[in-house]
Symmetry: C2
Subunit: 348 residues, 2 copies
């Protein structure tokens, strides 16, 4: 309930029945996110450990193996060949988007469940192949939508479901970062798109998640002022049933700031930072003309995400953000790019 903002209530793991497992992860791709966020987050999980690193740069592998006590480092070819398969139980894929499919396919062939970064692949068609490969091999697939495990976001979804905000009027989310253009996410072939694919997908997926509803139309604009091949700025507007609208905005070149807000007839809730990996968030609740502010400082959503995935594996549960969920967003992203190209509103 909105009145109950105690840490224990806000941070509770509503999905956690308690398990006695440690899932050993092979991490495919030791880039910035894996090194800067995932490896240290896994150390703080209850149910996970990182045992294998897979990389194209052996020096990085050795350095991280030392720092995080990994059992072994494999090349991409060694991973495909099934080397070290007894040293891990599950595979986390954090490569450029267009490479997700091949590593997920190898994991599926090896009978290993897959936690795959978002977007699920660089195209909808490849994402479907990825999902099908996991289905056919009978391995669990989760799309790594960390916001779906982020506690404030989960509480928001419950409040919406329970009517705590009244009727929802509008949703808005923005994710602005400022990054140089020498990264794979600016490469159309590897990324499949620009700001929309890489970061716009956060307000998109999070809007669908908290509303527990599917949009019916989308309109979008993009811009690429630095004259690169992908979109650097994107703004989109989604229509949801019952007259609810959701607005998303994302940029690769803007003053860094992320926020998410739900406007309701009975209460309006916003939090920031929203889509950045963070320990500390400020939640603002406006209700009855009063504003309540809560500073959260519990474990961040990547810890939650890995433990949730391990919990799903142990309990035989299909992860809520599964392959279909990842594909659904890519279908909407396709409609967003179509809207930009045709300068039209696209029915979904």
């Amino acid at each position: 309930m909105l009145q109950n903002l105690a840490r224990d209530e806000m941070a509770r793991r509503d999905w956690d029945s308690g398990i006695n497992t440690t899932v050993r992860f092979a991490l495919v791709g030791l880039g910035g996110f894996t090194e800067g966020v995932v490896l240290s987050a896994i150390q703080e999980t209850d149910y996970c450990t990182a045992t294998v690193g897979i990389t194209g740069t052996p020096e990085t592998g050795e350095r991280l193996a030392d720092e995080y006590n990994l059992k072994r480092v494999l090349s991409y070819d060694e991973f495909h060949d099934g080397e070290g398969v007894d040293d891990y139980d599950a595979v986390y894929v954090c490569t450029p988007n267009a490479l997700h499919l091949e590593y997920a396919e190898s994991a599926a062939d090896l009978g290993k469940p897959v936690l795959c970064e978002k977007p699920l692949e660089a195209t909808t068609e490849r994402a479907r192949r990825l999902r099908d490969a996991c289905n056919e091999a009978g391995v669990t697939l989760m799309t790594a939508y960390r916001m779906q495990l982020e506690p404030v976001t989960r509480r928001l979804r419950e409040w919406v479901r329970d009517g705590e905000l009244g009727d929802i009027v509008a949703v808005r989310g923005s994710l602005d970062i400022d990054v140089p253009t020498d990264q794979w996410r600016f490469d159309e072939t590897l990324a499949g798109g620009g700001a929309m694919m890489d970061i716009g997908i956060y307000p998109l997926n999070t809007s669908r998640f908290v509303l527990d509803a599917e949009p019916t139309t989308v309109t979008a604009q993009t811009a690429s002022p630095r004259e690169i091949e992908v979109d650097e700025h994107v703004a989109f507007q989604l229509s949801f049933p019952k007259g609810v609208t959701a607005h998303g905005q994302a940029s690769f070149e803007a003053q860094p700031k992320t926020e998410f807000q739900l406007v309701g007839t009975a209460a309006t809730v916003s939090f920031s930072p929203a889509f950045s990996v963070a320990q500390d968030r400020t939640v603002e609740i406006h209700k009855d003309g009063q504003m309540t502010e809560l500073e959260t400082n519990w474990g961040h959503e990547v810890i939650e995400e890995f433990d949730y995935f391990a919990h799903c594996l142990e309990t035989g549960t299909n992860p809520a953000p599964d392959g279909d969920e990842g594909i659904r967003d890519l279908e909407i992203v396709d409609a967003i790019y179509k809207s930009v190209m045709m300068d039209e509103t696209i029915p979904l």
Copy 2:
């Protein structure tokens, strides 16, 4: 400059050359806004005084005449007939939208300049007639876009012009209020529309004002959950040149909250409350990864607006928010309602 947030700098009247006039106003329509906001604001102006009240309810007129020392109270017919014309220099029109035209026409016939509330009229065609009547009589017409005189908003516009925010990426503004449906603004005939006409026009006009640019397309959604004849919720997205997008959202039935934000490559600035008449606003400036917060508490924008109008009259200056400005927004509002009806993106 962004670094200079001293009150004297933020609150300065960049338009004020200093005049020695007191403009005497006749206030047409003594409803909630005139009584609750305008009469006391005029008392705090440098260049204005209220001398005449025009109303259909004499009791209200007498009460307010006593409280605010008005020289006389007229009925609407008396105003049309030119009674008391020597007791005022200018006319402020604050009636239901669809009545603006007739009072502005009478004012013009009497040779009195007109400060007319927004939206300029209930339809674009009537707004054009209103403008033409003032033009033909040679009287000054200002559309009462108070945000254009609000100091934070004016600074924002200067910062955009001077590149202090870098390139602008996105703009968003929201105005959510919670009002009962027994008001004229829920009457299609009197208001000409719902949340979009009455309050959505604030983020629309303010976006155009701070960007000093005109949108090229618009897409919008509305909803009327209480089953009334006008829109109660509206969300719209505008494309501006150079890839800039602006999002507006307004509602007659939501938790009350107003905010405005400009996202730039060099800085992002937001303030709240934004579109509510307020003495106190919180301005947040994000720059170089740092957030600076400023609490403003200077005289509010209605004082500024009246003094600006008086200054225009004395100096023979055409007000920046003139009749054409009011008409331009109504043309965009027409496109917004067309977008809703056709579920399409509308070129402007």
